[in-house]
């Protein structure tokens, strides 16, 4: 249990206090100081690849991309400074952008809660019994591994095509929807279903969390006369809240990054009616098909800010609903 939470809470402070201890231990003796220097050299030696990657492939590119977002740039000329023009154009003069933001938000804000609810529900079902649940757990996890692949996008398109398995399955029940792929109203739900289909990874994390909830809590609640809904609300949910927080944060950020499935299903066009033109698909089109690298960089930074705001809100509100207590953890 403790191993999932440090991302958010325990890890960094622990190291920070270690670092403080090092600093405090500084002015004792020259020998001690020499040894600390040797430790520093060793550490940075081990960190050489990571530092090169961090500055060369992460921090440096971020700075360049921030600069480019204020320019007009087509890869071959020199970037031309245009101030906030890209950002202004995005929100006032680019209906495709606004549409792309809208469908991406719908996809993230509708898809992620459904996916997590499915993951939690099925994790609780698996947790009902130990014997035999291992097979189901593994089988249900499999879609998470392959869900983002091109192969699955192709299969998904076939599943939801006109007269495909979903269409003919629904018409047995008298629901005549036709193909989902070319239908402006159904292509977003179809991709949300693809996201929900990959509930396996959060399910496995929830299941690990459920196994940590002490049985005494349920017994005590039952003695107090709590029904199954009350036990779920007052025992399961609070005890799982750190895991729910972790899953919510990661799955939300992941959902913003949908690319391969939308790109394959629409053959890179973003159609029908712009309904598969998710943020990343549109950014790819602007940057690499239209060579508008400045505009696309501005798009990337808007996304970064939005993701940062969402993460901030989640972290801030988590103090109110995430419960890190209990003697068992």
């Amino acid at each position: 249990m403790t191993s999932t939470t440090p991302v958010t809470s325990a890890g960094a402070p622990e190291v920070a206090s270690a670092a403080r201890a090092v600093r405090r231990g500084g002015p004792i003796s020259p020998g001690r100081r020499r040894q600390q220097r040797r430790e520093n050299v060793a550490a940075y030696g081990f960190l050489v690849p990571w530092l090169l990657g961090f500055f060369g492939l992460t921090v440096g590119p971020m700075a360049i991309s921030l600069y480019l977002s204020f320019t007009r740039f087509n890869l071959f000329g020199d970037p031309r400074w245009i101030g906030f023009d890209n950002f202004v154009r995005m929100f006032t003069d680019d209906p495709n952008y606004v549409q792309s933001v809208t469908i991406t938000l719908v996809y993230v804000l509708v898809g992620t809660p459904i996916k997590l609810a499915a993951a939690l529900g099925i994790a609780m079902l698996l947790n009902y019994r130990d014997a035999g649940s291992g097979f189901f757990r593994s089988a249900l996890y499999a879609p998470s591994l392959i869900g983002a692949s091109v192969s699955v996008a192709i299969v998904w398109r076939a599943m939801f095509a006109t007269d495909g398995p979903v269409d003919s399955g629904l018409s047995i029940f008298g629901i005549q929807l036709g193909g989902w792929v070319g239908n402006v109203d159904l292509v977003v739900p179809m991709l949300i279903l693809l996201a929900v289909w990959q509930f396996g990874a959060p399910m496995v994390i929830f299941l690990a969390g459920l196994k940590q909830v002490p049985a005494e809590l349920y017994e005590a609640a039952e003695v107090d006369g709590a029904g199954s809904w009350r036990r779920f609300r007052s025992v399961t949910l609070p005890m799982l809240s750190p895991v729910i927080f972790f899953n919510l944060l990661l799955e939300t950020i992941n959902a913003f990054q949908i690319f391969a499935s939308a790109f394959i299903i629409s053959n890179g066009t973003g159609g029908p009616g712009g309904q598969t033109n998710y943020y990343t698909v549109y950014l790819y089109e602007r940057a690499f098909a239209n060579q508008q690298l400045g505009y696309a960089s501005a798009m990337a930074w808007v996304l970064l800010v939005v993701v940062a705001i969402i993460a901030f809100i989640l972290f801030r509100t988590s103090r109110g609903w995430v419960y890190y207590g209990g003697d068992s953890r």
Binding site: V15, V22, N40, L47, W197
Partner: protein, 303 residues
């Protein structure tokens, strides 16, 4: 494990209400049967797209428009034979080899660079460790969008387009913080007495890392190897951006070739290649599923 069993029994045995005792084991058996049936149906539903894919590869192309059923009317392996010849003069094994090279080198790079960084973060007290560790965790949440454009410009200026360098260099530089974090967690769980004893015997950090830590973190290395293989194997955006000649394509981009060129005329070929592209992942999954599920459960790795 035992906790769950006792809880299941506890909830099924409402102690104060004794009179119901006789029927209780029968009722429990019924509940178990229902549990199996529900989960089995659910699993079948979830795995249906994959079952459909496997069976469809044996449908002749002509049946894709006409036969809506799951089973082919006249099963054939023609799709596989046709697909093996490749597309546009490039044999299929070439795409497979390209994918294997990329995924294999990704595993090597990830294991070396991530384990080194993880050792420094987990075991050495050094100036700046707190800030750097926090920065590493921060990159876990960074959307890749702010990086792809400048990275593309960088690799284009260095004349590295249509090589595998842009796809691999990040792996050798521990850019995927997930793996560093996973290994840091694992190393922190090892008893410190081991390296302190080695240090008293005069071993330096390199020696401790190679002879003590590496052998002990094998489970974390295996988990990281499997995930980095699968992610590199599935990666689509990277090769789509950087690989321009078809003979260098890995499978996902090559699949797009089938998908674009033949989606109307040769559906059979498309599903057959889709299937073949998933085979290595599914094999990995079947062999290593314990490691994968344990890795996800303990570290909260994304799938």
């Amino acid at each position: 494990m035992t906790a769950v069993q006792t809880r299941a029994e506890a909830s099924a045995t409402p102690a104060p209400r004794a009179p119901r005792q006789p029927s209780h084991s029968a009722r429990k058996r019924v509940a178990t049967v229902i549990w199996f049936v529900v989960l089995f149906a659910l699993t079948l539903l979830i795995l249906y797209p994959l079952i459909w894919l496997v069976i469809s590869t044996f449908k002749p192309s002509s049946e894709f428009g006409s036969n809506q059923g799951l089973l082919p009317n006249s099963p054939t392996i023609d799709n596989y034979i046709r697909v093996a010849e490749g597309i546009g003069g490039i044999p299929l094994w070439r795409f497979f080899t390209n994918s294997l090279v990329i995924a294999g080198l990704s595993v090597v790079g990830t294991l070396i660079s991530s384990s080194m960084a993880a050792y420094a973060f987990a075991r050495i007290r050094f100036r700046g460790s707190g800030a750097l560790f926090a920065a590493m965790i921060g990159t876990l949440l960074l959307p890749f969008h702010v990086l792809i454009i400048p990275q593309y410009i960088l690799f284009q200026r260095l004349d590295l387009i249509d090589t595998y360098v842009p796809l691999l260099i990040g792996k050798f530089l521990a850019v995927e913080a997930f793996f560093v974090f996973l290994m840091v967690q694992f190393i922190r769980g090892l008893p410190r007495e081991l390296d302190e004893a080695a240090r008293i015997d005069g071993a330096g950090h390199i020696r401790i890392f190679v002879s003590i830590i590496i052998p002990l973190i094998r489970p974390a290395l295996i988990t990281s190897a499997i995930f980095s293989f699968i992610w590199a194997w599935n990666d689509f955006l990277g090769p789509l951006l950087y690989i321009t000649s078809p003979e260098n394509y890995p499978l996902p981009v090559a699949l797009r070739l089938y998908n674009d060129a033949t989606s109307t005329s040769d559906y059979g070929a498309t599903v057959a290649v889709s299937m073949l592209a998933l085979v290595p992942i599914l094999l990995f999954f079947i062999v290593f599923q314990r490691f994968l599920v344990a890795g996800v459960a303990t570290q909260g790795l994304k799938g």
